[in-house]
């Protein structure tokens, strides 16, 4: 575990906390370790994140910095637009949910894991773009379009306007009012992407380095290769992290996990108790069968969806038969990584991610399977031969 920072002055300024990720990606491309990097860059405004495949130094520098109000999942982009990394070597910056989704897709042979270098970034939550605009208008009293930069630090959302004005509001205050992070981010127990190849972030950086360096944890051989390449090229400098820093990072993670459990209990309570089936379908019956949840889900990968068969779900019936949701849940819930893409895409605003995550936590009691934790855990129902014999 190290503190890392870029050697290049410009990269240091453009990137956040020392620009170590930007510098690592640039050197990985320059040293021909990867063909390109899958990154998210800012589109029209800070509420708009565009995934793109960067192959040059300038393109990578363009994507430096974080976008908390643009919850884009890059896992399915690798499958849909980069051919599942079969012939392309890709470095990808990922939030923990991205990393977990990539691992799950790797287990299903949708992504070639040998060609994917995951640069994980700590994430304490993202915000839905449209409510975020309303939130900024209401709590910060500024025009949402004037915001040029946002940042989450010490439990506060800090925004910076065109005029250089800084304003901050505590996330707890925002969440009490029903704004703040997405519901699935509130429930998320994975803030440090330990399933990625390298885990980076500003947690645990203390002393004079605070805010100027990035905490780097190398987790796999591929990650070591990535960091070594950057170091050999002279793009980054690493110093050993002090034990107090490591302890602080663990402590912060512990606090976030505890908070996540609290949110989980609160959000699942709505469906608990008697008549659970009816409570679930009171929400699910708003479905208009647009299949956005299936299209967006990183776990769904069948060429021909099972729910399109007539004996499972009758065609042209609205709301769809319960079998539609029950089949979908049965197929994906054991591996749900709670990325929230289904809920984001739902035009009927059904809390699908909450329901799927609830089913996943229940199934975890039976199967013991933790989705997206590591490539070594076999998916439920793929391991029965070994267990029984």
């Amino acid at each position: 575990m190290y503190y890392g920072r870029a050697t290049d002055q410009l990269t240091q300024e453009r990137g956040e906390c020392g620009g170590v990720i930007t510098a690592t990606l640039i050197s990985a491309i320059e040293q021909n370790l990867v063909d390109g990097a899958l990154l998210i860059k800012q589109g029209e405004s800070i509420y708009d994140g565009i995934p793109f495949f960067a192959t040059t130094k300038e393109e990578i520098a363009e994507a430096a910095g974080s976008l908390h109000c643009a919850p884009t999942l890059s896992a399915k982009v690798i499958k849909n637009y980069l051919g599942g990394a079969r012939d392309t070597r890709v470095a990808v910056t990922c939030k923990p949910c991205d990393a977990r989704a990539i691992v799950e897709m790797g287990k299903r042979n949708q992504i070639n894991m040998d060609n994917v270098y995951m640069v994980g970034v700590n994430c304490a939550g993202t915000m839905p773009p449209v409510p975020a605009r309303a939130m900024i208008r209401q709590f910060y009293d500024i025009d949402p379009d004037d915001v040029v930069k946002e940042e989450i630090a010490k439990g506060k959302l800090i925004v910076q306007t065109k005029d250089g004005e800084h304003k901050e509001v505590s996330i707890d205050t925002l969440e009490e009012e029903g704004y703040g992070r997405r519901k699935n981010c509130q429930r998320c127990e994975y803030n440090i992407p330990r399933m990625a190849d390298v885990a980076c972030g500003n947690w645990g950086v203390i002393g004079p380095d605070a805010g100027k360096a990035t905490f780097v944890e190398v987790l796999t051989d591929k990650g070591q290769k990535l960091i070594d390449t950057a170091k050999a090229a002279g793009a980054i400098t690493l110093t050993d992290a002090p034990p107090e820093g490591i302890a602080l990072r663990e402590k912060l993670d512990g606090i976030m996990v505890k908070m996540a459990h609290k949110f989980m209990a609160a959000q699942f309570a709505k469906f608990d108790g008697d008549n659970k089936f009816e409570k679930l379908f009171a929400e699910l019956d708003r479905c208009i069968l647009c299949r956005n949840c299936i299209i967006n889900c990183p776990i769904c990968y069948c060429e021909e969806c099972f729910t399109k068969q007539d004996f499972v779900v009758k065609k042209n019936d609205l709301p769809p038969e319960p079998m539609f949701h029950l089949t979908r849940l049965l197929h994906i819930a054991p591996s749900c990584v709670d990325c929230g893409q289904c809920e984001d895409g739902c035009p009927a605003e059904i809390p699908i991610a909450t329901i799927t995550h609830m089913v996943q936590t229940e199934l975890q009691k039976t199967t013991g399977y933790v989705p997206g934790r590591s490539m070594d855990d076999p998916i439920p129902l793929s391991e029965w031969l070994e267990v029984q014999e």
Partner: protein
């Protein structure tokens, strides 16, 4: 499965309906054995023959509940006896997963029963059937758990719209 989908009339007294999937090589022959030996057992079961218990898609079982079955039974061969060598291991794994899935969606997991009955175990078939009917009577109708989505109730409910309505 359409045998299950008979809408119960309100005047009739509720009788448990049990959907039973039997594997062709063991349990179906076992049921046959019970029949040819003229054993008496509860008449509530509708038996569907599948070629192997490993052919069972968990979706069939959920569909069974939504079609009005109060208990769904899955009967297969004993471990090691499978005609296709490993089908019943697959079935066992799927049923274990369903055992966790059913409470998550609000169906009592006791409504799913799976067991292994060989071709010679006509007596075990009879005993199992009587035991399950008794259990179904204790658990009550599935409509209590599914509410408006129970088989008969859902059909009577007015659909919001069909795609034909919108485009006609």
């Amino acid at each position: 499965m359409s045998q299950m989908e008979v809408t119960p009339s309100t005047e009739q007294k509720w009788e448990p309906r049990i959907l039973t999937f039997c594997c062709n090589w063991c349990s179906y022959a076992g049921a046959d054995g019970a029949g040819t030996s003229r054993m008496q057992y509860a008449p509530n079961a509708r038996i569907i023959r599948v070629m192997c218990s490993g052919r069972m898609n968990p979706v069939f079982i959920i569909k069974g509940f939504l079609s009005g079955a109060d208990i769904v039974m899955m009967l297969g061969c004993h471990f090691g006896d499978c005609h296709y060598l490993k089908g019943n291991y697959a079935c066992n794994a799927r049923m274990t997963l369903l055992q966790g899935y059913l409470p998550a969606i609000g169906i009592n997991p006791e409504r799913l029963y799976w067991d292994q009955i060989s071709a010679s175990e006509g007596i075990k078939f009879k005993e199992t059937m009587n035991k399950i009917v008794k259990k179904a009577q204790e658990l009550g109708p599935i409509a209590n758990e599914l509410g408006v989505h129970a088989h008969g109730a859902r059909q009577n409910r007015k659909a919001r719209a069909t795609v034909e309505d919108i485009f006609d």
